[in-house]
């Protein structure tokens, strides 16, 4: 096996390069057997680390999620030791961050719709919901649009639609919502920074 050396390496591998346990008369069969048993019983899991940031207060603690690459599920979340702010530690809520993943059975999974006067949710699919919402947005905007104000100044305002939220979504999503609302002419725009 060729050892690539890098930079200032002066000492090669320890306890003599090229000496193998087997050449020293060590019985490696039990180790081999154990390795094969693990493989056969499909016990070797492959996983990836993903760094993220906590979604509670604004300190911005770093977290590392360990994700099982087979199932795609997060199986462990811990503090990110290299993060200079929290240095690996977490508060009680941060430590419970795992309970926000799909491990929490209350997480919303389906598009839900409540018809006028109805007393329950119905499940719908995305296309129907998006088209219905677009229809409502257009009709409400067209009906309530204010081109000029009482003084006759051009104002281009849609005062009949409000937009609330959110400071719990990413910057890119905030910018998109901010720009979308202005293109629609909305002025009633606010979120949790106000409260």
């Amino acid at each position: 096996m060729e050892i690539t050396r890098r930079g200032f390496l002066t000492m090669s591998g320890a306890i003599g390069s090229g000496i193998a346990l087997s050449s020293l008369g060590i019985n490696l069969k039990p180790t081999r057997a154990y390795a094969d048993e693990l493989n056969k019983a499909n016990k070797i899991k492959s996983a990836k680390q993903v760094s993220t940031v906590c979604c509670y207060c604004s300190v911005g603690c770093g977290l590392i999620c360990s994700v099982d690459k087979m199932t795609g599920k997060i199986f462990n979340i811990e503090g990110d030791a290299d993060h200079p702010i929290n240095e690996g530690s977490l508060c009680a809520k941060g430590a419970g961050f795992f309970d926000l993943t799909e491990a929490n059975k209350y997480r919303l999974k389906k598009v839900q719709y409540r018809a006028p006067m109805s007393d329950k949710w119905e499940e719908k699919d995305w296309d129907w919901a998006v088209n219905r919402i677009a229809r409502l947005v257009k009709d409400t905007r067209d009906k309530g649009f204010v081109m000029q104000n009482s003084k006759g100044e051009l104002v281009n305002r849609c005062e009949s639609i409000g937009h609330l939220g959110s400071s719990n979504v990413d910057n890119e999503e905030c910018w998109l919502m901010s720009v979308k609302a202005r293109a629609l002419g909305l002025v009633y725009i606010d979120h949790q920074a106000r409260v």
Binding site: V50, S51, T52, V53, C54, C55, Y56, S58, V59, G60, V67, K73, H83, I85, N86, L90, C91, A92, G96, F97, T101, Y106, R107, L108, K109, K110, Q112, A129, R132, A134, R135, V137, K138, M147, E153, N156, R157, E159, I161, G162, L164, G165, S167, V169, D170, E172, E173, L176, V179, K180, R182, A183, G185, Y188, I189, D190, H191, Q192, R194, V195
Partner: protein, 810 residues
């Protein structure tokens, strides 16, 4: 924050007021404790209630809710009377030496120019005298009675120890103890900082409370230094980012001003918004305003925005002059039936907005409501809430499942302005998709409807640049992030005369810093303060994980990206004397080495201000480059003044005949009742969160281990008051205000003690605001049934922290 979380370790005195850091920002509190371990910092907690923060600070000083300006005003008086201020700093770095215009005056609680009918000030008398060249006159001896320094001294001389003690309920010994310890940081080698949160913002005088602290920090030379500044420990993970990108009625992304109706052309708007300073030494950085604004319009409308159509300025909605469209205004209009549709993304206003009864009535008048969240909450289920008959509610409600923060890639800014990149760890459950994806889908469908059918004023919708999807039509977060950073729209050459450099940039290349944005439409920049989050070669600086910290102050310049231009402490030039030598060599933030600054990214490349020719004052974003002791930008006056909360225990303001903040907007309708100094509601009440839950509880109430520790709504009552009223600990009680009532468990405690206010005993109680009827079933409903619809004069942030209630057995 002007500084950031790790910087707290560099402080010698930390005043925690308006915050409960140990319970709501535990890791920030870790850095506060490290300041105590490493440099023996003194930790002072001033709060109406004794909390876990108080238990770990050196001492706790209780004060009545709503009297923070009186408390801090007393400290300004103490600093000026005992000459504790940092003379060199105040003289050179603040507008203390400026001369106030002769028509300006303050009498009996009102500044000049007040219009009682409109409850507004006209600010034309709040000016500073200028010399022939238009540069403000200055009296460097600070002796002229009309100079800002003397006017400030006169104004706060009324805040005597007796008066402040009588207003706040704090003993004179405690006041003197806090004032003495904190003002000791007014010297070269000491740093004092203040940590605040909603405890300060939830008042009708919220902005002025923070400004009072800013004045204190300027007087003591604590602004712009390591371990100094005024630090907001904000509550939401990306409240900083959502504020930067301005999903707020009054601003466009990058804190650009929202156009008003009277500015009907781009030229008029830019003229009004671009400050001019004739003082050569004032950087007045906002003179570059047109570059930032035009670049924003180009990012919004792309090549449809041309010079001829004013880059699409006319398509933007215009607010009526002087009008406001905040959350409270929205629910007023909704209650009047004039708002038909609402997007409620990742928020629960039916619990978190003031005056819940009116908010829930208003929701019933909507035609449609679109909710995007990871859990259901009281807002989306208002139609089946307590006392609501679904058959009477016509609103169509959509509840769209969203991905949680670890299930999507993107950036998030902590309140220390660090913009950190997050990666996607796992797919969201079921059909949930990121909010960005939902926004793109809905707007795309609206654009297609307008393209097909036309409609009213379709131009802004059709011309909106909306190609932020990848090959598979999915939301492409990197495309949006780069659009926010900004691009060159044509081949551009940037020359720098001083450094004699000449760099070329290709069309479509990323703008490396906002200094290179142009006003001629040749660059686009979705948010100018974020320009530089990508390097010109496309490296995403938000993903950086560099652990080096050359200054040792915990700046970590190579960890993620801090706006603006990765500067970690704002106004850091003020940490050096006028020659650029650091005031405190032990905590060297910045130093002028003769030809360049070394340390943190400086506030601009110019030499220190001693260099009359090229030097600049440190506060580069201010029009005159200096810290504002006299701040005419505020709605209710250039100097802070104590006013009682909208609903308080006193019939008369001990300091003047203005009982409440004269510039606060009063909302008049049948559900906005107010009962001030009313014996039916004798106790001061405040609201707060608890460690186990977070904000409206809409995320944490669904987590059973957290709910087990804090299962239901409670009211914390002082043991003296409970004795008086015969209320036993753990008993069910009703808390009533003029607007509504909540039922909860009484928690009799020694951590609330009665105050003596103007010779009278005044009791205070408090409730958390984390509960709602939807879950857990009998855990109590929103505390905001009690809170009044009134907000801060500048920001309309509601006054949750001080109103009047009564408590009686259930």
């Amino acid at each position: 924050m002007t500084n950031h979380y790790i910087d707290l370790k560099n402080s010698d005195v930390i005043l925690i007021m308006g915050s409960n850091a140990a319970e709501h920002h535990p890791i920030a509190f870790k850095w506060i404790l490290r300041a105590k371990e490493q440099n023996g910092a003194r930790l002072i907690h001033v709060d109406p209630r004794y909390t876990r923060t108080s238990a770990r600070c050196d001492y706790h000083v209780p004060l009545r809710s709503g009297t923070d300006i009186a408390f801090l005003g007393g400290m300004i008086n103490y600093i000026l009377e005992n000459n504790k201020y940092f003379k060199d700093y105040v003289l050179n770095y603040t507008n203390a030496s400026f001369i106030v215009g002769k028509d300006f005056y303050f009498k009996d609680g009102l500044f000049s120019g007040y219009n009682p009918a409109k409850r507004k000030y006209s600010k034309d008398t709040w000016v500073l005298e200028k010399d022939g060249r238009g540069i403000p006159k200055r009296d460097m001896t600070l002796s002229n009675p009309r100079c800002v320094f003397q006017m400030l001294k006169k104004h706060f001389s009324r805040y005597t120890l007796d008066k402040v003690s009588s207003i706040t309920g704090v003993s004179k010994e405690d006041l003197t103890k806090v004032y003495a310890e904190y003002s000791a940081t007014g010297v070269k080698d000491k740093a004092g900082t203040e940590c605040y949160a909603l405890g300060w913002t939830h008042h009708t005088t919220g902005s002025q409370i923070i400004r009072t602290m800013a004045i204190i920090q300027l007087l003591l030379g604590n602004m712009g230094i390591a371990g100094g500044g005024v630090n907001a420990l904000r509550g939401e993970p990306n409240v900083q980012g959502s504020t930067d990108h301005c999903i707020l009625y009054g601003n466009l992304p990058g804190y650009l001003k929202m156009p008003v109706a009277s500015l009907d052309t781009l030229e008029k708007y830019l003229k009004k918004c671009t400050p001019v300073s004739n003082d050569p030494q004032s950087a007045n950085y906002y003179q570059n305003y047109p570059k930032f604004f035009v670049s924003f319009l180009k990012s919004m409308f792309g090549d449809k925005a041309t010079k001829e159509n004013g880059f699409g300025y006319s398509w933007l909605p215009k607010m009526d002059d002087g009008a406001a469209y905040s959350l409270m205004h929205l629910f007023e209009k909704m209650y009047e039936g004039r708002v038909k549709g609402l997007f409620a993304v990742g928020t629960d206003p039916a619990v978190s907005s003031p005056n819940t009864a009116k908010v829930r009535k208003a929701l019933e008048k909507l035609d449609w409501l679109v909710g995007e969240n990871i859990f259901d909450n009281e807002t989306y289920c208002f139609w089946k809430g307590p006392g609501v008959d679904p058959k009477q509610v016509k609103t169509e409600v959509f509840l769209l499942p969203a991905s949680a923060s670890m299930e999507k890639e993107g950036s998030q800014s902590n309140s220390g302005r660090w913009v950190q990149w997050k990666y996607k760890a796992a797919d969201a459950p079921g059909d949930a998709i990121p909010v960005g994806e939902i926004t793109i889908k809905i707007m795309q469908a609206v654009k297609e409807l307008y393209a097909k059918e036309g409609g009213v004023q379709p131009a802004p919708i059709l011309n909106l640049k909306w190609d932020y999807t990848d090959a598979k039509g999915r939301f492409d977060v990197l495309k949006v992030s780069k659009q926010i950073n900004g691009h060159f729209l044509k081949d551009t050459v940037i020359e720098d005369k001083d450094k004699k450099t000449r760099t070329e940039f290709k069309k479509g290349q990323l703008v490396p810093t906002f200094g290179m944005l142009h006003a001629d439409g040749s660059t686009s920049g979705g948010n100018w303060i974020m320009a530089g989050s990508f390097s010109a070669t496309g490296e995403n600086k938000m993903t950086r994980r560099g652990k080096d910290d050359p200054t040792g102050l915990g700046l970590y310049p190579n960890w993620s990206y801090a706006w603006p231009v990765n500067r970690r402490i704002i106004y850091n030039r003020a940490s050096c004397d006028i020659h650029g030598k650091p005031y405190n060599p032990k905590r060297k933030l910045l130093e002028w080495t003769g030809d360049k600054w070394v340390g943190d990214v400086p506030d601009g490349p110019w030499p220190p201000m001693a260099d009359r020719a090229k030097g600049k004052y440190p506060f580069i974003m201010k029009q005159d480059g200096l810290g504002a002791l006299f701040g005419p930008g505020m709605t209710e006056g250039p100097f802070p003044e104590h006013y009682e909360p909208l609903e308080g225990p006193l019939a008369k303001n001990p300091l003047s005949s203005q009982l409440i903040n004269p510039a606060v907007e009063i909302f008049k309708n049948d559900m906005n009742k107010v009962a001030s100094a009313d014996e039916k509601f004798p106790y001061v009440c405040t609201t707060y969160s608890c460690t186990e839950h977070w904000c409206s509880g809409a995320l944490t109430r669904w987590q059973l281990w957290l709910l087990e520790m804090q299962p239901e709504l409670y009211v914390e009552i002082g043991d003296k008051l409970a004795q008086e009223k015969g209320i036993r600990n753990g008993e069910k009680v009703k808390v009533q205000s003029a607007r509504g009532e909540v039922e909860c468990v009484a928690m009799v405690t020694k951590r609330f003690r009665p105050f003596t206010i103007e010779g009278k005993t005044v009791h205070q109680v408090g409730l958390p605001f984390n509960y709602g009827w939807l879950f857990p079933k009998d855990g109590g409903d929103s505390t905001n049934f009690l809170t009044p619809t009134v907000g801060d004069a500048n920001t309309f942030c509601p006054e949750y922290k001080a109103f009047m209630v009564n408590v009686k057995k259930a």
